[in-house]
């Protein structure tokens, strides 16, 4: 591969598979697809969406770099994966690429949330990942939005209108969901329940962050980083400013390409 080659990054996560198309340091386009059971099919759809977004063909790609929890499952002929990169490596490299002063990234994804501290070259110094009871924050959020009959974005916006602090159980997503439904049965304002849900998620992420040294600047990525209310609660709980990265859900895919470029 030579300078100016176009590369694709694929990040197959628990909930969504994301693809980006990059030329050097330039992000040309992106696309995503729910991962479902057929990871390869989801990766192909995400990849073609990204290619369509840029307006180029599959044949113009010089290589594909894969990351994410399902990265090994994507190493099959139809995709022609050039290399795979571990999640935390891709996330750290991607976060530094997107924010050159950052030293810690908190990634809040569909099933896993993690915090990674890295040096000025994006080399990982420390990683912490959620415990079992805090698995599935993103999936929980999607379930709650469905239960409320609103979109995920609407749920976040509703929470911003909350005027009352109502508690929900913090033990795990299941008990939080059970409590949230109970609050609805009690006739509690939907905005307050939405806020309680967001605070529950922020509490879990903040609790995880207490076991890692959060070096400034701290950036946040993953699909849930798009929730303004979640970021508001997180900032208040960890008592530090956090910045949401551009294209937060594509961090892994971008980082995969950057890691490949760095490792050439």
């Amino acid at each position: 591969m030579k300078k100016g080659d176009i590369l694709a990054g694929l990040d197959a996560g628990h909930v969504y598979t994301k693809a980006v198309i990059m030329r050097g340091q330039e992000i040309l386009g992106h696309g995503m697809e729910p991962t479902g059971f057929d990871v390869v099919a989801a990766a192909q759809i995400a990849l073609y969406r990204a290619l369509d977004n840029v307006g180029i063909s599959r044949g113009e790609l010089a290589g594909i770099v894969a990351t994410g929890i399902f990265r090994e499952m994507m190493k099959v002929p139809p995709l022609g994966i050039t290399r795979t990169v571990a999640d935390h490596v891709a996330d750290a490299k991607g976060a530094l690429f997107l924010s050159k002063h950052s030293r810690t990234v908190i990634v809040i994804g569909g099933n896993i949330h993690k915090a990674i501290r890295y040096d000025q070259n994006g080399n990982t110094l420390d990683v912490i990942q959620n415990d079992k009871c805090a698995d599935g924050l993103g999936i929980f959020y999607m379930t709650m939005a469905k239960a409320f009959g609103v979109s995920e974005q609407e749920l976040s916006e509703l929470a911003l209108e909350s005027t009352k602090n109502v508690p929900i159980a913090i033990q795990c997503a299941l008990s939080a969901e059970s409590d949230a439904i109970d609050l609805m049965c009690q006739g509690v304002d939907i905005a307050d329940v939405a806020d309680a849900i967001s605070r529950f998620m922020a509490e879990r992420v903040a609790a995880m962050c207490t076991t890692i040294s959060l070096e400034k600047e701290i950036v946040v990525a993953g699909g849930l980083a798009k929730s303004k209310v979640l970021i508001k609660h997180l900032t208040s709980l960890i008592k530090q400013d956090v910045y949401v990265l551009k294209l937060p859900e594509y961090l892994g895919a971008i980082g995969a390409v950057i890691s490949y470029e760095d490792g050439k």
């Binding site: 415990d131 079992k132 009871c133 805090a134 508690p167 929900i168 159980a169 913090i170 033990q171 008990s175 059970s178 409590d179 109970d182 049965c185 009690q186 309680a196 529950f200 509490e203 879990r204 903040a206 609790a207 995880m208 207490t210 076991t211």
Partner: protein, 388 residues
């Protein structure tokens, strides 16, 4: 209830229960030393004899995840919440924190206070025998209490005489007798006080200076004796289980769609706290305290009669059933407190034999009111079919 007579005193107790920190600080302003204690196996009498007021650490009912980094996820929410009270510095004003090696979960909450909340130099862990129903237990406890006494003498910079401990034993026994009398009002068909009110007074007593507490309960009892009973009476519900300082659940029991009354609570935040006495007038007060604490209704975590598998607590429960005549029993325990639900397995057949229906409610930081209401109303429905 009117605000006159018993109503005024009950409101005072309620205010203390709702604002325990403010009450404790008021004692401190009067010059009292304050010790937080995390388990009812702590012999409060020794603290009191040293001129220190014991204040039970209860929960804040704040839903938080901060403690997940300090103690294990599958420890009960009561212990998580008490640990949080330390980490949130809600009790920084306390002079001392004490617990006994009785409940593992609360032991971890205690460790959090000691290691991370600034109580390292002002804490004491009282070694407590794991199995109480053994011959060496009393001597072991007396020795532990002796070490605790020595620590307190050094801490409070005063010696604790036998008469001081004897006086404290008498004050505490007085509290126990008064609380017992208060609960016994609930044996009546139309008591002048409700179960949730008695539960609230009992909870307040755990954070109060016992002399003040005794005066207030005495006044309350005098007042109640002259008051008419409340009507109508409904299905009589007894609670058995673990620590619960969320009074909302007891209020819920009295506000179902069917008439129901809470008439007894077997838990360490209610009857197990006071339903025993320490022998008075003994030459060796620490031995007497050990004897008293061995004789109390055991916590399920300590209820083990070696070689027999017998549960001593069940004898008490059967006696309470005989005396208070509940129509139904609610097993109310903290999620993740293993000894409590394990007891349910053995207790339920006993209740079945007695023809007493029961249900189980699992406690967390929050109360799922509508879910609990559904379960309780189902229980009351079943009872009404059994005893129309």
């Amino acid at each position: 209830m009117s605000k006159k007579g018993s109503g005024t005193i009950i409101e005072r107790f309620r205010s203390i229960t709702e604002n325990p920190h403010e009450y404790a600080k008021s004692l401190q302003r009067e010059g009292h030393l304050l010790a937080g204690y995390m388990c009812t196996h702590v012999p409060e009498e020794i603290l009191y004899a040293a001129g220190i007021v014991p204040v039970r650490i209860l929960t804040s009912h704040v839903s938080q995840a901060m403690t997940r980094s300090y103690i294990h996820e599958t420890y009960c929410s009561f212990s998580h919440d008490c640990a949080y009270q330390g980490l949130a510095h809600n009790y920084d004003f306390l002079d001392l924190i004490v617990t006994s090696s009785s409940c593992i979960h609360m032991g971890e909450a205690f460790n959090v206070w000691v290691r991370f909340a600034g109580f390292q130099g002002k804490s004491f862990l009282i070694p407590y025998p794991h199995i109480i129903e053994t011959k060496p237990a009393a001597a072991f406890m007396a020795e532990s209490f002796g070490e605790f006494k020595q620590f307190l003498e050094k801490f409070a910079k005063r010696s604790i005489a036998g008469e001081d401990i004897e006086r404290a034993i008498k004050v505490y026994n007085r509290t126990r007798r008064l609380l017992k009398r208060l609960w016994e009002f609930l044996r009546r068909d139309h008591p002048p006080i409700t179960g949730p009110e008695v539960a609230m007074v009992t909870l307040a007593s755990q954070v109060m200076d016992k002399q003040e507490c005794n005066q207030m309960i005495e006044q309350l009892i005098r007042s109640l004796e002259g008051e008419p009973g409340k009507a109508p009476s409904g299905v009589r519900l007894m609670v058995t289980g673990g620590a619960c300082d969320d009074l909302g659940i007891f209020d819920l029991m009295e506000h179902l769609n069917h008439s129901a009354n809470l008439i007894f609570i077997d838990s360490c935040t209610a009857a197990r706290y006071f339903w025993f006495e320490v022998p008075e007038g003994r030459p060796h007060q620490l031995q007497a305290i050990a004897e008293g604490y061995i004789g109390r209704i055991p916590c399920p975590a300590k209820d083990n009669v070696p070689g027999t598998g017998e549960k001593k607590r069940f004898r008490f429960i059967q006696q309470f059933i005989e005396d208070f005549k509940p129509d139904g029993v609610v097993f109310l325990y903290q999620r993740f407190c293993s000894p409590q639900p394990m007891d349910v397995v053995a207790l339920k057949p006993i209740l079945d034999r007695l023809g007493i229906p029961s249900t189980e409610l699992e406690l967390d930081t929050t109360l799922p009111i509508t879910q609990f209401r559904t379960q309780l109303e189902a229980l009351v429905e079943i009872i009404r079919q059994v005893t129309p």
